[in-house]
């Protein structure tokens, strides 16, 4: 379990390192996030239903979760490109982890890549609602 927990942190550290190239330049950071969002695999329209919609976001965000061999896999979409980019990072971190791992995790990468705004303006970005949804799904899939 400890080993897997480390994995989540390692992925976060990789992301932080990946973003270091932008030296906190917000414009470049956001442009890269948009690029990441564009590369996120498309969520089938059948999943874009109210049940999968994350409440409390000012933009539309849908998130689904599937469990395979004890590991959780997430897919998501958003009509804002920046949030979609942020979601792609969350998916990178959480997809393929166990429920327990996800529930034990501590997220710190967003602040470290200069996107503190996303966390402080919770209601506007909906970031914390997305994270809460992931945690709730992890809880519901817990054995």
């Amino acid at each position: 379990m400890l080993k897997e927990k480390k994995d989540i942190d390692r992925i976060q550290n990789d992301i932080i390192e990946e973003f270091q190239i932008f030296e906190n330049d917000m414009e470049e950071t956001l442009e890269y996030l948009i690029e990441l969002g564009n590369n996120l695999s498309i969520l089938n329209t059948e999943y874009k239903i109210d049940q999968n919609k994350i409440k409390g976001c000012l933009s539309n965000v849908w998130l689904i979760c599937k469990k395979e061999d004890g590991y959780l896999f997430f897919e998501a979409d958003s009509d804002t490109k920046i949030i979609k980019g942020l979601i792609s990072l969350l998916i990178k971190i959480f997809s393929g982890q166990t429920s327990q791992n996800i529930l034990n995790s501590n997220l710190y990468f967003v602040e470290k890549i200069g996107l503190k705004n996303m966390i402080s303006s919770k209601r506007i970005s909906g970031y914390s609602n997305i994270v809460d949804k992931i945690l709730n799904l992890a809880k519901s899939y817990k054995d």
């Binding site: 917000m26 000012l58 490109k81």
Partner: protein, 409 residues
């Protein structure tokens, strides 16, 4: 450039110097603050006054007979006089200090709580901010009265045909915004009040978006109630105003009960003091009320003649430049507007535009602007809103427009 423009530009440079925040950087870029309809920035005179208060005469008012208390009391009264002159009310006792427009509206809505029944109608418009919707929904719920809503036309202006018809049903009150915080529409309030008064209907005006941009004369308007916030007119946060007609103040019940609002108290009964104190229970935001005086002085010193002309020219320039960006669609087209505009882009979500502009140091508002019913009517999930103020410049608009072009084209 003619001489008038040169004088104006020089004056705006001087005005900008009074706002320390305008000299700061955001994301390593000079701040371009275009979210003035949310709140305006504060000049040094306002900021210094708050600090002067705490350094020199911090005290509660009308509590103890000491020098500090009377100094504070005098200063609070000074603001009351200044506000009274600013909107030309008959007496300064008609000026009630509140925590903001929202509290002012709640006082008025609560004041109607005993007057309405299931036969009665309350009228709002589709242009209202949540703060001028929710207190009235709550009132209607509590009294079983009905809520009717004046629709807007495609232009973003109120449907006067509807107003003429609905008024015949003799609603108890019409609560309207003077200027829309989303589209910018300046409603023809004077005309509506005239029509309403023919039927003896009271009119409440939410002037939060109007006060920083043009002169308001409550006696000429003949409105029954008018509310606004200090923070949207260069003043401190947490201070609002409610103006009411004298005869209404005599009979209206307060919303809050507590200290400073009573003349006599026993455990069996109490007797109200006269207004405005009747409506000002508890310790008020004394420091900020005192500093609010400086905000009005700031406006008075420039004068609405200059403010209106400068903001109008700057706003026309903004609209003309935005219209040149093919991806942008401006929402609404009313004849008279305060200097704010909402738009959407064909190829980008408002949230993304707001984030990208912020990366360049430009502050705008994105989202539903606390006007969800209006957004639903316009079939929009959100917009980008640019709102101007006296300290904004043509150069800032040029930077906004070039950044938008970079993002969208």
């Amino acid at each position: 450039m003619n001489i008038i423009n040169m004088i104006e530009n020089k004056q705006i440079t001087e005005i900008r110097k009074q706002f320390p925040i305008l000299q700061t950087n955001i994301n390593k870029k000079p701040l371009v603050y275009l979210d003035n309809a949310s709140t305006t920035q504060k000049p040094n005179s306002v900021i210094n006054k708050i600090s002067e208060y705490y350094k020199n005469y911090n005290s509660n008012i009308e509590r103890g007979f000491h020098t500090l208390g009377s100094q504070s009391f005098e200063q609070v009264n000074k603001t009351r006089e200044t506000v009274s002159k600013f909107i030309n009310s008959q007496n300064s006792s008609q000026i009630i200090f509140t925590s903001g427009t929202t509290e002012s509206i709640n006082i008025v809505a609560n004041g109607f709580a005993n007057e309405l029944n299931e036969e009665d109608i309350v009228i709002l418009s589709e242009l209202e901010h949540h703060s001028n919707i929710v207190p009235w929904i709550n009132l209607c719920r509590n009294t079983n009265s009905k809520l009717e809503v004046i629709p807007i036309l495609k232009s973003g202006e109120l449907d006067f045909k509807f107003i003429h018809n609905i008024i015949k049903k003799r609603p108890k009150i019409i609560a309207l915004t003077y200027a829309s915080n989303v589209i910018g529409t300046i409603n023809d309030i004077e005309q509506i009040i005239k029509i309403a008064h023919e039927y003896n209907i009271k009119v409440f005006i939410d002037a939060a978006q109007a006060v920083p941009h043009f002169a308001i004369n409550v006696q000429k308007l003949d409105c029954d109630f008018l509310a606004f916030s200090s923070h949207k007119m260069y003043g401190p946060m947490g201070v609002g105003v409610l103006y009411c007609k004298e005869e209404i103040l005599q009979n209206m019940k307060p919303l809050k009960f507590g200290g400073a609002m009573i003349e006599d108290v026993s455990f069996c009964d109490f007797k109200y003091r006269e207004h405005p104190y009747k409506f000002e229970a508890g310790t008020m935001n004394i420091s900020n009320i005192i500093a609010f005086n400086e905000a009005i002085e700031f406006i008075n010193q420039i004068g609405f003649e200059v403010i209106e002309k400068y903001e109008k020219d700057l706003f026309e320039y903004l609209i003309q430049e935005l219209q040149n960006i093919s991806q942008i669609k401006i929402i609404g087209n009313p004849k008279n507007k305060v200097p704010l505009v909402s738009f959407i882009a064909k190829n980008m979500h408002p949230f993304d535009i707001g984030m990208m502009l912020n990366a360049s140091g430009i502050a705008v508002r994105t989202g539903n602007h606390c006007a969800q019913p209006l957004m639903d009517k316009l079939n929009l999930s959100g917009t980008v809103r640019v709102s101007l103020s006296i300290y904004n410049t043509k150069e800032e608009i040029d930077f906004l427009v070039s950044t938008l072009k970079k993002i969208l084209l």
